[in-house]
Amino acid sequence: MIDQTMLQPPTLPTNYTVKQGHIKTSTGKTIRTEEMIINMGPQHPSTHGVLRLEIVVDGEIIVDCIPHIGYLHRCFEKHCEHMTNYQMVIPYADRMDYCSAMTNEWAFALAAERLLKIEVPERVEYIRVIMAELQRIASHLIAVGTYGIDSGAFTPFLYTFIDREKILDLFEMTCGARLLYNYIWIGGLSHDLPPKFIEQAKDFVEYFRPRLKMLNDLLSYNEIFVKRTANVGVLPKDVAINYAVSGPQLRGSGVNWDLRRDDPYSIYHKLEWEPQVGKGEMGTVGDCWDRHIVRMHEMEQCLNIIEQALAGLPEGNVKAAIPKRIRPEKDAEIYVRTESSRGELGFYIVSDGTASPFRVKARGPAFVNLSVLPEIAKGAMIADLVLIAGSIDIVLGEVDR
């Protein structure tokens, strides 16, 4: 009845040999057992985009997990080399990590500014910090919300989207776009803050604190959720560092490393805040719950930063330092890394003295964070794999660039 060829494993480019075995039943019969290869994605609902995972399972236990990426490859780096101006890269950088576009443009703008040795006005720095932290909240809200969906709770997702909407309204008010802003320019900003921005941002901070508590009650500390995520997908400290994971994932593993503090840029050193580290409250340090809770706590810290930055916002002209011609020296090169919502976002730019960059390498945090997935997925169940992949919080736009 069933076509036998369908039961054959598909050819694996990795030359994985499917292990076979035998078990004896109580009646004395022997039954052939075989590992099964399942394709998870690229159209699977919980792979957060077009990630394809080839998983070898023994029952529901994962024996091996091979990620295949590149379905969303848009040649970001090649495009950059063809731009006739550094400024034109920024709309493309927006589209890398579309959930956190503001931090992307900042990273590229910062790299170009260091390459050109531009000092930006104080006000620009403050506004950038406010925007980046708002963006971090928006991005973490998506991460937390979709993590709820992964674990089966649909409702928190929509609550987070209501809150995110308020942040996007702030962005739209400021620069006219809701998702891909092109707001942070090399040397400055495209617009100054609109008149009512500060008031509304303060309102948002007020509004969001109780919402965070509600989200924690509804999801983070729900016993079912805790039982699902605690002790699952444990990423030990040394493996995390060896795989150069960054951001909430690294901090979830108990490494106190935040580029905003450890490789300072902008005005973060003037503000008071604490990097959040996973403590293994519900299970082992570095499990999925730790990564989740680090994001929740980080949102609180973002609110603190925003409050301070709003209070200390100086006057100034946001377009004062924008250069007329962007033409770095010949053979100048720089690697600038910033703490984006997902971790270390670095741009390695090499100039050849012309107006278009010679080489731009984007070191995306999601790309690197995803590469550790096979390490931590082994031995988990399929249901856990969904949660592990969700806790990494990948954005395929950035993984594939």
Binding site: T14, I69, I241, N242, R337, G346, Y348, F358, R363, S371
Partner: protein, 158 residues
Amino acid sequence: MTAQDIFDILKVKFSDALTEKKFDTVQPWVRIAPNKTKEICFFLRDDSAMQFDYLSCLSGMDYNNGTFGVVYHLTSIVHKHKIVLKTFCTKDNMHIQSVSAVWGTANWHEREAFDLYGIIFDEHPDLRRLLMPDDWEGHPLRKDYKVQEFYHGMKVPS
């Protein structure tokens, strides 16, 4: 630890593998030989004074003159110092030793560099294309790259 100190220590141990250095730029770099990368990187990672346990970025390069290269940006989480390593190869001999045994993160970065530049990393455990399809022709980020006309009968927009 400054780049000079790191260079001095390395010079003692691997004198012949260090061929060039540049310290007057924003980010000082040291050039190492392509067949010694693994050894040097192991030393950099494990030496207690260095402890470069964090490979920030690994980028392939095409210098548009027949020279290809790989740039390593290293950080130490413990000591918080940084160093940039560079290694070069020529178009006829695109072999560079893999460092994926040293840092797990290098695995995917090297696969990406292989995919986009065609640099072959010796001793890499799983050197397959990463971003492009397995049967794609050419290496797109090379400066002399020409888009193939058809891919499985589909016209490739140039």
